[in-house]
Subunit: 256 residues, 2 copies
């Protein structure tokens, strides 16, 4: 159906055989962003230290000021930099943060930071729910729910344990999925679009089991987010996300 379009595109812009289809030409401002990110994440540019000015970047990368500016601007909006009219641009002190305002896919989040993501699927089965879970999922105690336990990795280090109960009435094929290929959140979003969500955030100490999975000691404080999501049909799932406090932060940005 749309093949002719692709043919046109390929012939015009991807003439070299074997060339990867993705990001054949990276936008200049993205190159600059990437460069700055690397400097910060590698520790070469410390917090509060000054970042090259727009004019300096203009020369270094042979781009116009507007292009250099765009890189700095976007990194500022993303919270990596702080700018001050008249005095310059500086490395912010908050690095890895995710947005609580958005229900996000942790895989996307990690990819955005330029890091490698993978997941291990620890458990995927059907379980009888206890009373607490039953109430929260709008089921009856003793009913069957689907349960998954997935460990998320950033650069091969465990970063988050996800334990999730899913309402089987609303998501039929949950047990057939492979959550090393698609995150539960991404799958659920495609099956039953979210209409509502609540979060509860608390600080806890990891249990022995969880500590072992996340490779942390038993006195490491963890952020635990309990997320309950609805579709138009009702409560879809109940997720408990546990991350070591020293590796993971939540960030939010409200505008009134």
């Amino acid at each position: 159906m749309r093949l002719y379009i692709q043919v046109r595109v390929y012939s015009a812009h991807y003439p070299v055989l074997g060339m990867t289809m993705t990001q054949v030409k990276t936008a200049k401002y993205r190159v600059i962003k990437q460069h700055i990110c690397e400097k910060i994440e590698s520790g070469q540019w410390l917090e509060h230290s000054k970042v090259p000015s727009e004019n300096e970047l203009t020369e270094q990368f042979s781009v116009s000021r507007m292009t250099a500016r765009r890189a700095l601007q976007e990194l500022t909006e993303q919270g990596l930099l702080v700018r001050s009219q008249g005095s310059g641009t500086f490395v912010a002190n908050f690095k890895s943060q995710s947005s609580l305002l958005e229900i996000r896919n942790i895989a996307d989040e990690i990819h955005e930071r330029g890091h490698q993501y993978h997941a291990e699927q620890l458990i995927l089965n059907a379980v009888k729910v206890n009373e607490e879970v039953a109430i929260l999922l709008a089921l009856k105690a003793g009913d069957i729910a689907y349960y998954s336990s997935v460990l998320h990795f950033e650069n091969n280090a465990p970063i988050q344990l996800e334990q999730r109960f899913v309402n089987p009435k609303l998501v039929a094929n949950y047990l057939e999925q492979d959550f090393t290929q698609i995150t539960p959140h991404a799958y659920l979003s495609s099956e039953a679009p979210l209409t509502e969500a609540t979060h509860e955030v608390e600080a806890v100490l990891a249990s022995e089991d969880i500590g072992r999975l996340l490779a942390i000691s038993h006195i490491t404080p963890c952020l635990q987010v309990k997320r309950r999501t609805w579709s138009s049909q009702g409560v879809v799932s109940l997720a408990t996300l546990t991350s070591p406090g020293n590796k993971y932060r939540l960030g939010s940005h409200l505008i009134f």
Copy 2:
């Protein structure tokens, strides 16, 4: 010291007597953003409906395409709009993503639970800020900022330690307040209405000092929220809120 600067500025740009000092000249792209926000929030532009294209806005507001574009771009980054190359710009389907980490007064929160609230004011003075705080408050290292440390109690048990730096240029009478009578947050809101805020949430172990104040052991995990608030004038304050994880939770409710 810096008065001459202000004089120069006033004479050049604020020639009319009685003219308010704030927002005398609103940036054009902000006007456009405001216009679009109002359309969406008033319901005149429904979800998924098409927003005027860059060229249309260019004509309507008599600006260049780059300026119109900037308005659309920023609203997209803020999640109000969705853009698609080739087809147009549309109202996003996530609207009132309000009350996440709703900026609330802890006193109100405790009263709502039917509990008793009171506060102790530990410190209230002017301090020289270090570089980190200076940057975040848009001051210079060594400048003076106001600092307050207030301990909040729920039913006579300490529930939250609030440590706050305040920009003295924007809130003049901060040191004259009695924060056992009004919370810093409530006072600041009355003085300089908030327009923006960022939060960072992490799980930490309390330091010895903080542990003593909060009456918790040194292995109690704590939720630590760092909140940076803006008014239309700039960064108003920088607050660090620390609460024992077993006594305090953050909740949020998103509706799509």
